[in-house]
Amino acid sequence: MNTVNTVNTENKEHQVVNWLRMDRIPHIWCPGCGIGITVEAFVLALEKLKIKSDEICVVSGIGCTGRVAGYIKVDSFHTTHGRAIPFATGIKLANPKIKVVVISGDGDLISIGGNHFMHAARRNIDITVICVNNFIYAMTGGQVAPTTPFTAYTTTSPYGNFETASNIPQLAESAGAKYVARWTSLHARRLINSIVEAIQKPGFSVIEVVSPCPMYYSRINRLGEGINMMKFYHKNSVIKHFEPTENLNIDYQGKLIVGKFVDR
């Protein structure tokens, strides 16, 4: 049995290592978390666009996804809870030539930062927002969030969630965003192409990435580990480009509709 494992990396390193702060790797995300895949897709999209590291700026909020600003080796900002988009607006106004990307979680951007999300879409600021959706507030212990599906269990909904969930593509489109897409962590290559299109498009662009949370959402709802959630996305996701956004509600363990919905 001929194995080709190399422990040290004298011939080459992983190609994204030039974009990461390597003294902080291995990162703190759980085994099976989809945020690492989002960071990798983002960096590969930057390589495809041939952007230099001083032409881009990353802003993130508080939460599990909010730690992204500490791991990417560009000018990055780790801001207060929900206020990643106002910081990004300020950076873009001060220096309109650089590209500003906001990478943050669903509790940060849609819940406490929902107000800023709506008004940035109304003003059509030229930033790109990547919202990683794991349906809960993960870092603080798995509490219910506005994106938690109806009847799901979380730490603060022990009898099942009794509220219907927000629909992020519908919120973005009705507020006036120019590019809206949704992918899961499994559709990594399509996510790379989507990030390339969103960064190049002038105007407010939103990409939602549905990601597994193996420590809280999957464990409390008995859905297995990260690999079981990925198999679920494989079986139950359907690609429908330009579907009307009112049909995009996420039911608990229901069909997931992904694709590019708005491009105007």
Binding site: M1, N2, T3, V4, N5, T6, V7, T9, N11, K12, H14, Q15, V16, V17, L20, I25, P26, H27, W29, C30, P31, G32, C33, G34, I35, G36, I37, E40, A41, L44, L186, A188, R189, I192, E225, G226, I227, M230, K231
Partner: protein, 95 residues
Amino acid sequence: MRWKYKRIPYDIDKVKVPLGEVHIVKDRCKGCGFCIEYCPQDVLDFSPEFNALGYHPPQVINPGECVNCGLCEILCPEFAIWNTLKEMRGLEIEC
């Protein structure tokens, strides 16, 4: 993957298939299993040994089958596995 052909194709000497080599940094792996599950050529499997974090990292069990597709590299959340192109080889078929 091996298909059965009815006859040898006429452009058999023009088609080249890539052969890839997989590199793994064992101490970064957290044992999630995405690379093993989504390799289309079934090149990887869990190894019986433990790494420094206590997880079972992957090992290459079928090195001649890797076609350098890059799915293990894109789907690893820990940046612990990647592939490089080793050579292009001719197509081997059976008919």
